[in-house]
């Protein structure tokens, strides 16, 4: 009983201490705070929050692209993007691309015109059908721009890298078959903000995948619109 009384008295006495216990960390923080009063400030370029915030928002994008460097086809892919921005810098994005629209290149036309028999392009080259990638997005740059004193806009710029699959149609023993191949992607993207939830999106990407006759690196240039959902907690 006596021991309990001692413990009680001790615990009670703690309440009469003049101040809560302040650790070494507080001391160090305060030292830094006071020292900073007479130092050159590390003022960032933007001293307030951004007008166009991507943090904790989903981004849905739809864009048209053009793949200019395939030997046999000019692709006009339709690209869908679903991204989530963890913060202003980092995000994840699911990219899906349908490569349904295409035209023959000059090379293809030339080969067909010079061929005595019916030339089947699909027997000499693969044909991309769709690709699905998961990429990590890094957006280090946020800025403003003006054009001919007309207006002022905001943009951000970032890079991304990731991997996924590309579905191709390729010749196999005289027949065509569809196969999925590993696909790596490196890209860069701009957002030109129009409204807090809408941005014009420009995209440039290089995909690298092993085709049936060697490694190919088709690149794509895309332009579309991004919609940002409200903040998701």
């Amino acid at each position: 009983m006596q021991k309990i009384a001692y413990i009680f008295v001790f615990l009670t006495s703690l309440h009469f201490l003049p101040m809560p216990c302040v650790g070494l960390e507080a001391e160090q923080d305060f030292d830094a705070l006071v020292t900073a009063q007479r130092q050159t400030l590390e003022a960032p370029a933007l001293l307030s929050s951004k007008l166009y915030v991507a943090e904790k928002r989903f981004e849905l994008a739809l864009q048209m692209a053009y793949v200019p460097n395939d030997d046999f086809y000019n692709y006009f892919p339709i690209q869908f993007r679903l991204g989530y921005h963890f913060n202003d810098l980092w995000g994840l994005e699911l990219q899906s691309t349908l490569l349904l629209l295409k035209s023959k290149t000059n090379l293809s036309t030339f080969l067909e015109s010079r061929s005595s028999a019916q030339l089947d392009l699909e027997q000499i080259s693969d044909r991309q059908l769709a690709r699905f990638n998961l990429v990590a997005v890094f957006h280090p740059l946020y800025g403003k721009w003006s054009f001919n004193r007309v207006g002022l806009g905001h943009f951000d710029w970032g890079v991304y890298a990731g991997a996924g699959l590309v579905v191709v149609s390729e010749p196999s023993s005289g027949k065509l078959r569809k196969s999925a191949r590993f696909d790596a992607v490196l890209g860069s993207q701009f957002h030109f903000f129009i409204l807090p939830y809408l941005a014009l999106r420009a995209d440039f990407a290089v995909n690298i995948y092993p085709s049936f006759n060697g490694v190919l690196a088709p690149c794509s240039i895309g332009l579309g619109l991004s919609y940002y959902t409200p903040t998701v907690p």
Binding site: P18, F30, L33, V34, L41, A43, R149
Partner: protein, 709 residues
Amino acid sequence: MKITITQLIRALLFAIALLAFSQTAAALTVNDIINMASQNIGEDAIVQIILLSEAMEALNDEDLQRLRSAGLGDKTIEAIKSKQGAGKAELATSSDEISESAKDNVLRSYSEEPSREMGGELEQTTLESSHVVVEEREVSVEESVEENADDSPKRANGSNLTELHSLESFGLVQVAKSGNLSVLLEKFYESAYQSFLIHAEVQAKYDKLQEEHKISVMGTELLPELQRLQKRIPNDPLHALAGALRIESEHNLEADSMAHALLDAIVGLAANRLGLHHVAAQRLERAMWFSQPVHHFDELFLAYQESAKVSAHVLTDAEKIQNRQNFISDKHASSFIYAIAYSYVYGPHKDEEAAFELLSKNLGEGINAAKALLLTASRRILPPRNQFKTAALELEQATSILKNRKGDEAFQLLNIANLSLARIMHENSAHEQAHAFYGMLSPRSHHFKRARLEDAWTLYFGGRYPEAIAATQVFYIPDWEKDYVPELHIIEAAALLKLCQYDAATAALGRFKAKYLGSLQALQRFLASTKATDYVQQLLAFTRDSAATPLDSRMFSAILQDSRFYHAYMKSMHMRKEAETCRSLETRNTALKSLCDAYAADFTLAKSALEESIAVALDAVKAEILALDITATELSIEIQLALRAEQERCLQLTAQGMSCEVAKSVPEQPFFITENIQYWKFNSEFWRDELLSYYSRVPSLCSASAVKP
């Protein structure tokens, strides 16, 4: 060949030392001979010394090789061989003759040495008067040597010449070469002491010389020990510091003795290396007080500068240090002069005229020149001088130096110079120029906020009311909104009142009352509930959790901004850290106990000063808010009177059959950002490069009371 008096004296003294040595020489070693050769003693003289010695150890092949590589020839080797096994009796017969010969050789070798005198009439006179005395001493030494030849004490261990040689590193020999007789005599004394040949007569002669040249010999016997400690500073500063403190506690040394100066230098340099800057700055200043030149004076000053910067130490005796101006090298002369001038202005013995005189010297085009200009300008503008024009010219000169320099110090100084110029212009009602100079402050400068506020006042007094309002826009940066800036809303209200924006002015006063009268109440609660000894703890607690204390964020900001608090805290912080360092060092060496106890006591004092500074800062905040509240009330009355006048005018118009409507304030103040001639609306983003470019279009409603027929 020209032989100067100094060289003659030097040669004589060395000859005396040689004579003294010759009478006590025990068996010579090969090392001794090599040491002699390394000191440029001629081979003939070495041969004579060998012949004077009692005996030589047998030479082996290795010894022969070493002697050859030391530049010694057959003559020396033959002399050594002839002495191997020889006894003392042989020496005694020819000592007088040989010593004369040795003296001649030494004299010749010294007289060939290039002259390194500093010159000057005063020094020459001193040397001449000393010459006579030294000649007298020469005779006395020889006589005394003869008298004491048989019972001279022998060295316990080691070699005399090795000890003499080691003096090179101690700095004495180097100083001797610079021609300072006083230090040369110290060297002689030490040489004599180490060879155990101190005779009463020599001592008396020396005392006489010492009296003439005001040199203290106290502690000379400690010099070898101190020398050893000094050598340990770079690798083992703790040992050096502890050793020096131990010697200090055991001996009561005279203030201007070499030993005392060296002791201070060791403590200072070692403490500097260990990060004990508070004690280092004090000791290094004392070390620099020593009236004789020492070869490491630059090192002392540079270490002092470093420690003084950390511990905010100001020279306590600027005059004494100023007298050592000739000791510093040209490379560091400008820093040295600036440090002295600074202490004349801010030190305990103020003498601004002396500071001005010092700073009028050409300090080159370096950063010290700019600092000197800033220092003088800062004093010129104060009463009774009020030399604004000269100060402005000096500041402009400083800015032109600083613009071409890189680095943080130059950046900070440039901002201070621009701020000072702006203030001078403001004080002299040159509002346009003041505004231009305020605009030169970088947003990265810690003076930026203050400059924006002062710029707002300048614009207000210059009648540019919308721009005065625009200048306050930066204080709405989210991170700055909790800063203590009570004048902000007063400027807004005053400017809006001038624009007859009565509602907006009233709203600005409302913001002042809401923010600062609320803070004042919090402050009063804080003062009532907190003991002065808990202030620091409260500040620390607020840093971690602002809700944990009765402190208000603006009060916290006010304390941080207070200059007295800043200096008191920095001092206390460094003292605390150094006291901790000292305690941790004490665990490794208990000799530091007294030093650490002193640190603990100083820290307690610094803490008390800090608590006092917080109390003073809080009182100042309280007084300022109350004063501004009175101003706010006055503005409020002016607004009411102006509104009443508007209403009366309106009533008169109504009575004349016209309708009248008092114009309303613009509800939101439109801010525009301008860069060159581009304008765009402020859109809530605060970009660093736009902070100086805000422009407001708040219209004046003074002539806009709409009168409708």
